[in-house]
């Protein structure tokens, strides 16, 4: 895939993952610009439809980043989010988009390195998987027509 730059949407919870992103920034840790961060009050706020819409609109990968087990500011929002992600992964496999485009990641507020590393890892993983199939088919069609 020539010069495929994946677009990754990262839903980050305010208390942990987003703060970790901030920490990465303060520490001048590099992470790929492919990752677009969306701050949410809690990873549990992310519903199945948000993940689906992100992919539908063309994101190549999505991850939901929440607090470590037992640390969720809202008790078990992170656990609910993890369950939803697991459910969506199965659905995505069923329709041939691929469940491995979606992940649930846990981290604490101080884990700047983990935030950066996750962004790197996810970008590379999606780069290898290739563009979201919803785009490539219409792109091929368009280029064939041209």
């Amino acid at each position: 895939m020539e010069n495929f730059e994946p677009v990754i949407v990262a839903f980050c919870c305010h208390y942990c993952a987003y703060t970790a992103a901030d920490m990465a920034g303060s520490k001048r840790l590099c992470y790929p610009p492919n990752v677009k961060i969306i701050r949410v009050p809690c990873s549990g706020k992310v519903d199945a439809i948000h993940i689906m819409k992100a992919l539908e609109k063309g994101a190549d990968g999505v991850y939901v980043a929440g607090c470590l087990e037992g640390d969720c500011h809202f008790k078990n929002g992170n656990i609910n989010a993890a369950k939803r992600v697991a459910y969506i992964k199965k659905l995505l496999d069923e329709i041939g988009i691929g469940g491995d485009r979606v992940e649930m990641i846990l981290m604490s507020a101080g884990m700047g390195e983990r935030f950066a590393q996750t962004a790197v890892d996810m970008t590379e993983k999606i780069r290898k998987l290739g563009p979201n199939p919803v785009k490539s088919a219409s792109r091929d069609k368009a280029s064939n027509a041209a």
């Binding site: 439809i49 689906m52 819409k53 539908e56 069923e94 988009i97 219409s138 091929d140 069609k141």
Partner: protein, 222 residues
């Protein structure tokens, strides 16, 4: 509630393959309660279907609507404004709803998005279990409020059979032995003697066996 589960995506995509514009209709009652076909599920399925089509280089326009319920003609009538702009309808309601839409809109193909399963209750969040078989002659008054027809794998009215083990059914250790439950309940109510009264053979005419059923309330019929 009537419970249901979404059909496999492969089957749904196959139904909709010939079309480009469809109406996806959810129901606000039973299938919402069992998270199979309510507004939320309509949104997720719509997105999934569109992505599946886009993947093949095709488009599927999905008009999303959720009715209060689909088993009453007044609500199904609300689709009349949208129906002409679409080629087909997919309903996320139970079989009753799908059929009502088909009955009202005779020239529009209608497809079920879910497999309707059973009449049941929520055991706990995310878990629904069969409770009633609609036999038409309720025996719950005799069995301490637990139905042997819906909950006993052999629908014994004078159970348990010899396969009851540790309060579980021989067929599946996740199934409670209905007669163990009934016995426990009769004990809790202090009416154990009820157990030895033999329940007579059932008249299945009041159930589905007698043919599709209808209820007519003369005082309500216009």
């Amino acid at each position: 509630m009537i419970t249901a589960e979404r059909k496999p995506m492969e089957e749904l995509i196959e139904y909709l393959r010939p079309y480009h514009r469809i109406l996806l209709v959810g129901c606000n009652e039973c299938v919402t309660v069992c998270s199979a076909g309510g507004r939320k599920e309509v949104g997720i399925l719509s997105s999934a279907l569109q992505m599946a089509f886009m993947k093949e280089g095709k488009t599927l326009e999905v008009k999303e609507m959720t009715l209060e319920r689909q088993c009453d003609p007044e609500y199904v009538e609300e689709l009349v404004n949208e129906i002409d702009q679409v080629e087909a309808v997919m309903s996320m309601a139970c079989g009753c709803g799908v059929q009502e839409i088909a009955r009202r809109f005779k020239t529009k193909p209608v497809f079920p998005a879910v497999n309707t399963e059973f009449m049941g209750a929520s055991e706990r969040q995310g878990v629904w279990a069969e409770r009633c078989q609609g036999c038409g002659e309720c025996v719950l008054g005799l069995t301490g409020g637990i139905c042997p027809i819906a909950r006993c794998s052999k629908r014994l009215l004078n159970g348990p059979c010899g396969g009851s083990t540790n309060g579980k059914c021989e067929v599946d250790p996740d199934i409670d032995c209905a007669w163990q439950l009934i016995w426990d309940r009769l004990k809790a109510l202090g009416i154990e003697d009820r157990y030895e009264e033999n329940i007579a053979a059932k008249d299945w005419r009041t159930g589905r066996g007698g043919g599709p059923r209808k209820i007519i309330r003369e005082d309500l019929v216009k």
